[in-house]
Symmetry: C2
Subunit: 213 residues, 2 copies
């Protein structure tokens, strides 16, 4: 019974995701579904990319189970953003993304969808995005690609964030790549928003993808 309901839910979601894809295309929006654990540095990464791409419009659909801390923070930095509170739900779905996109009301832009902090459930829900980006932070540990396979294989690009902490936490980056390569051909960027390492590289990657879509 549970399985049937889940299948129905996912099928309904997939249809709405297709509608979102058309909505984004019609408005020349490049939508990035940014996923990752709580505290993996998702908001900080968006903020850094926004600063690096001063010639591109950036919007954010911000998902949290509660609070509007991240939207307020991005607002102070002049980033146009809308908040979606899932009221306990552990992921965003295509329906709420459409609502968020209409509230955001942008065109000719890169729009980040900052998913709920969760390394498992968001990998089941297509949002109609152009790119699935995973923020995986160094302090989470280099074994995570081995343990959270669905998410690491779902991501098309992986941002290894907080790389300035590699020595402090004894992170074995070779082991991390070994785990990632076992399940995925995702492009990986080593990033530190603190030192600036890798920020221009990922920003340029997204800019090129946006301009050439």
């Amino acid at each position: 019974m549970e399985v049937i309901i889940m299948k129905e839910l996912l099928e309904a979601n997939d249809k709405l995701a297709e509608n979102n894809r058309k909505y984004f295309k019609d408005r020349n929006i490049y939508a990035v579904n940014l996923m990752g654990s709580p505290g993996s540095g998702k908001t900080t990464l968006i903020s850094a990319i926004n600063k690096a791409l001063s010639d591109i419009q950036i919007g954010v659909i911000e998902g949290d189970i509660e609070s509007s801390i991240d939207t307020e923070r991005l607002g102070k930095e002049g980033v146009k953003s809308v908040q979606i509170n899932t009221c306990g739900e552990c992921h965003l779905d295509a329906k709420v993304i459409r609502d968020g996109a209409e509230m955001l009301d942008m065109k000719d832009a890169i729009v980040f969808i900052e998913n709920v902090g969760n390394l498992i459930c968001p990998a089941e829900f297509d949002l109609g995005e152009n790119l699935r980006l995973l923020g995986a932070s160094v302090p989470e540990g280099d074994d995570k690609p081995f343990k959270y396979v669905p998410m690491f294989s779902y991501a098309e690009v992986v941002a290894i964030t907080k790389s300035d902490l590699i020595e402090a936490v004894g992170y074995d980056i070779e082991n991390s790549y070994k785990g990632l390569r076992a399940v995925s051909e995702a492009k990986a960027f080593e990033i530190s928003c603190k030192t600036g390492k890798g920020v221009n590289e990922i920003a340029d990657y997204l800019k090129n993808a946006f301009l050439n879509m």
Copy 2:
């Protein structure tokens, strides 16, 4: 429809959790449901507490969506542990805990249930544990109690792990306590398994709870 199914699932789980509680009591087991984000340091905390409590038997029911990395690691340290792979499921439930407890087959012990790394979903599932312990690591950020309210209000004890990184990541511990106190009266321990800070304190707390249950 989804809501009805979820309610039925949770009610069925609650009944099995009550059975688990009796099972643990009959065997003089103090069961600790250890929850937290991916990479919050749950396995490292269990390992450190095991070393601090050399006069108490420790067992572990290890939950992961896949892999047996943590069980192998604990096994090398001489900790009796069993692995439960949820095959994609984002939390442990009372049924799999009973299976795990029977495989572990211990009595007169503290048994840690290391939940799947997830700061949301496990807070909905009673496992029949004696204590709900949350591992919340410093690099996740001091704003987490404001954003993940269901989990922080569900926890009875919070272990603020990786506290040696407070300066490196600019963690505002006062803000963290402000968020925690807004939703919970949970006892909090500041811990670093690297420096040893707080390890004996939380180990003694658990030992006393076990001996006086």
